[in-house]
Amino acid sequence: MDIKEKLIILADSAKYDASCSSSGSNRKTKNGLGTTSIAGICHSFASDGRCISLLKILMTNCCCYDCKYCLNRKSNNIKRAIFTKEEICEITLNFYRRNYIEGLFLSSGIIKNPDYTMNLMIEAISFLRKKYHFGGYIHAKAIPGASEYLIKKLGQLVDRMSANIELPTENGLKLLAPNKESTKVTKIMKYVDNNRNARFVPAGQSTQMIIGATNESDLEIMSKSASLYNSYKLKRVFYSAYIPVNNDKLLPSLKLPPLKRENRLYQADFLLRFYKFKVPDILDEKNPNFNLLIDPKADWALRHLEEFPKEINSASYDELLKIPGVGVKSAKRIISARKYFKLTFNDLSKLGIVLKRAKYFILCGGKYFIDGNNFKRNFIEKNLILEDKIYETTSNEQLKLSLFDE
């Protein structure tokens, strides 16, 4: 098998992992090749619109586990390949020099046992860093169940490390990934969190959950995320809409991946991380799932209309953040600008603040954007849905997502 064929097999097996960002690290090299950039850099965009930043590959797609949702599971009869450490270095360095990529994302199926697999990964990455003095970004997947000394070794070589929680509940795991236990994953997270510094996983850790393969509610998923953020200071939780690759009676038969739902989860995730929302603000036992028609922030605002409309010229920073359509950047701009002059709707547009959603929830100098009698739930809800439809959905929402990306 030639190296190109291997690359195709091992990229194909890795493509379902959602994380791709190359941000959060600021590596400079004295004598080697490459640097990293705090903001992260996208080098290309795939046919599905996702950013390509890293050479995302598995070391091998051979696996002794049999997770039901995974293409690489033991019971599937597919072509298997394994990269040598030299091959991994060769491709990474050649791609990097030509500016195709920001660095390497290395994951792997499990061969023999977790320690054996981790050791091979560490050898490859250590080759890249020490023999070739590679200073670009490296994100490695830690293998759950691997020994602590290996986690330590790997963490000293990479920018980001992550271990996938895969499913939000233990029951889900038991059903679909019988060889996995969430405690093995959280053990890694805890170790990384306790030891993180400028030379150990400087860009922090992330994780991923598969959405829609089991029947957990959005409330269960978001609660899991919130607890992961709180307990281990994760940089990101990624949500990956389940895409059926195997036929299995334990798996739902979906025609299309639940992309809208995935999008809502990302939006709610931003609310938790940057907008000081808590899970119970967004979802509860009575409404355990997202409204697919309206984004979570607007949905929250519509249920709390008594707090609106907010006067742009006097609302506090925290209050500004709760306005649908107003992000961290916009809120900061408003605060700085209004020191010098009183803001009108026109000024807001000039400040680059998108009024599409915000205008329904604000006053400028006491004025609503149209006759104030229209400030009613029905009117706003109808218009928000309408504007979304006109504006087309997926592409622009994904655009927004990536702009906010760390």
Partner: protein
């Protein structure tokens, strides 16, 4: 003899422009426009050229009078493709001398608003090209890339690659402007495409295989159940595709 309804000319360089603006400010002249000296005035226009000394001191004077940030902003404006960028720089500087760093919030002033939008565009385009540049390896081991950006980002982009590809020789050519940047492992130099001709631009022996592998990787990594062409084009506008090797098949 110098009047406000004149078009003032400079030699096209940043330093020359700053020195010209310094003279205008000193003489309290509000120019009708400022253009580089290739500009051909129409019948109703009158142009005037001061004798300007290219004094680099002006850089420090601007920093002292405003801030480093404002100097950078002005430089980005200068790199833009905006038709009347020189006049925009003049007005932005006038406001900056008055408001200092607060100028960034004075979006209610038309010229400030416009200037900041243009700067945003230049800096976004530069950021995109940090990702979109595609080098190929020539037989003599030099890395070579061609770009066609809207704005003249070659100097700031080269400065970025100078750090990233510290130990490589590289050449980046802005095809549209016919200028090249040449990095010799110490610093980079911007040269006119006419002065600089590449001799022996044969690709290295492994170049074809690496390109093939990259294109194969690119085609594999997209998930077909999630295909989203519009989103892709939002992030990676079609006008850039011809220099992005993995997109050539789709052009």
């Amino acid at each position: 003899m110098s009047k406000s309804n004149y078009i003032y000319l400079y030699d096209g360089s940043f330093i020359n422009l700053l020195n010209l603006i310094k003279i205008l400010l000193k003489k309290k002249i509000i120019p009708q426009n400022i253009k580089d000296d290739t500009y051909l005035p129409n019948l109703l226009e009158q142009s005037f050229k001061f004798k300007i000394e290219d004094d680099e001191k002006v850089i420090q004077e601007i920093i002292n009078g405003t801030s480093k940030n404002i100097l950078t902003t002005i430089y980005y404006l200068f790199l833009s493709n905006e038709e009347n960028k020189e006049l925009l720089i003049y007005y932005f500087l006038v406001h900056s001398l008055k408001f200092k760093n607060k100028v960034y919030y004075m979006r209610n002033l038309k010229s400030v608003d416009k200037a900041l939008k243009v700067v945003m565009y230049v800096s976004h385009e530069n950021h995109k090209f940090k990702g979109f540049v595609r080098f190929k390896e020539l037989a003599n081991n030099i890395l070579y890339a061609e770009i066609s950006p809207v704005n003249n980002i070659l100097p700031i982009l080269s400065n970025y690659f100078k750090k990233r590809l510290k130990n490589e020789f590289f050449i980046i050519k802005d095809v549209k402007r016919n200028i090249v940047s040449v990095y010799d492992k110490k610093d980079f130099y911007i040269l006119d495409g006419e002065e600089f001709k590449l001799i022996g631009n044969k690709e290295s022996s492994s170049e074809k295989l690496i390109q093939d592998m990259w294109i194969a990787f690119y085609k594999t990594i997209g998930i077909k159940e999630r295909k989203n062409d519009r989103c892709r084009r939002n992030f990676m506008p079609k006008k850039y595709w011809k220099n992005i090797i993995e997109m050539r098949d789709e052009l």
